[in-house]
């Protein structure tokens, strides 16, 4: 068996369209359940929107912090780390420790906890039971 990462790219849409997407939550719950039953799902996590991103680079020993995602140009996604921190300051500090931070850019994106994913979807009108939260992680 080999592991594959499925990266999901979205465009920013207006709130009405976004709400429509949120209401599709039962489809996610269903999919995750079936992937898990088939023994294929290693993990799934929704990220907060791109506006919550912070880019971290280390140049000449100084940590440079900028608001916003890493602008895609000729660079490619090389890997990922999933870390658990008290807050953004700590996450930035850990990001700056990556050896690649001194030649690449590390984008720090907060993960949306499953409970919040559920709340956001419900606020948009999705109908899902509380237990669905177990299928969102």
């Amino acid at each position: 068996m080999s592991q594959y990462m499925l990266l999901v790219y979205e465009e920013e849409v207006d709130p009405a369209v976004q709400a429509e997407h949120e209401r599709k939550l039962p489809m996610f719950v269903e999919l995750h359940r079936s992937l898990r039953e088939a023994g294929l799902l290693v993990g799934v996590q929704r990220l907060h929107p791109v506006q919550s991103a912070t880019s971290v680079r280390v140049r000449d020993g100084e940590t440079e912090i900028t608001d916003g995602p890493f602008a895609v140009t000729k660079e490619f996604l090389a890997g990922y780390y999933l870390i658990e921190c008290a807050d953004l300051d700590e996450a930035i500090k850990q990001a700056a420790r990556l050896p690649m931070a001194s030649w690449a850019t590390v984008e720090v994106r907060p993960v949306m906890p499953p409970g919040e994913w559920l709340r956001v979807a419900r606020a948009a009108g999705a109908e899902v039971p509380d237990e669905a939260v177990n299928d969102l992680a």
Binding site: P49, Q51, A53, D67, L88, I92, V108, M112, A123
Partner: protein
Amino acid sequence: MEPADAVSDAIGRAFRDERAIVLATLIRQAGDFGLAEDAVQDAFEAAVTAWRRDGVPANPGAWITTAARRRAIDRLRRDRSVADRAERLAELTRLDAQQEEPSIDDESTIVDDRLRLIFTCCHPALEMPARVALTLRALGGLTTGEIARAFLVAEPTMGKRIVRAKRKIADAHIPYRVPADEELPARTRGVLRVVYLIFNEGYAAAEGDRLVREELCDEAIRLGELLTRLMPDDAEVWGLLALMLLHDARRAARVDADGRYVALDAQDRSLWDQDRIRLGLATLERSVRLRRPGEYQLQAAITALQIQAPDSEATDWAQIAELYGALGALNQSPVIELNRAVAVGHAFGPPAGLKLLEPLLGDQAIERYQPLHAAHADLLRRAGDSEGAKRAYGRAIALTANAVEREELERRREALR
């Protein structure tokens, strides 16, 4: 019924004096920047009706605090999408049940809360315009509309920028606390940069609503004063306040009746605000006494020397040159080096100035900077090289986009004949 004027005055005062404190405390208690801001906004709106009906309360700050907390509770009850909703509600309800308002906590809690608020608003993970806007709104009490007018952007654009920043604070968990000791110096520099940017936006720009612009200068100075109360041991905090006061003292003399910029030498000194100058010098003194020279302190010291001399001739240019040297050692920049060359030219004669300036003519970072060529021309003229000066003025004229500046440079070139 209280007269409308008395109520608006009381609300205006409470807004100016208490809003930031109430907000800073409520953010800590509610654990949510955006929610607390909305609740404080609601409370001020409610005050308009309630105070008109029942009279201005004896302690307006405590009234606003209680009202804002209750609005926060209402908002939390309605909004089911908030994380940790139950815990937050429990904490706010507990505080609300306490008999007496802990007289807006004690002084040190207020200081801590406001410092937390400043560091959150000026967090480096927020884009600079958002840092400026949040600081003006949360600490300065400016409305989104006022900030938008000051920065010449449409109000909805500014509104979106603020909403986006608050969303990022919540989603990315930008902490609401004073940074740890090892991060504090860098983060404090970041805060000072935001305050100085607000000041410069009000001071330097020629266009826009002048009254709003002047308000930005006043606001930046108020923020600077607040920082000196919150961080009295930081020399740069005092240095920045001194620098802003010394610039601001000359505000009235900076532009002539036609709105044209007037250079320091040509300013009508009777228009300078002597009280502000005295305050600025005393503030600079506080900074110097902490014995940690930094960029703002050095710039303030240079400005102080220029202001205190009766004219350009009597200015202590040798000391100014030395201060620019110290500034350049902290922060290498061709503009600082240019200023040093000009000071050296005044102190030790044009050839000494030219010797420092000439290497800059080939520096890509500054070679298209008009003041470089104007200064070069001036030094050449004083060194007796009219032909060289004419060429340098020509280069400066070609680089200026400003009609008033061009006129002045052409006048100087003509005077060479």
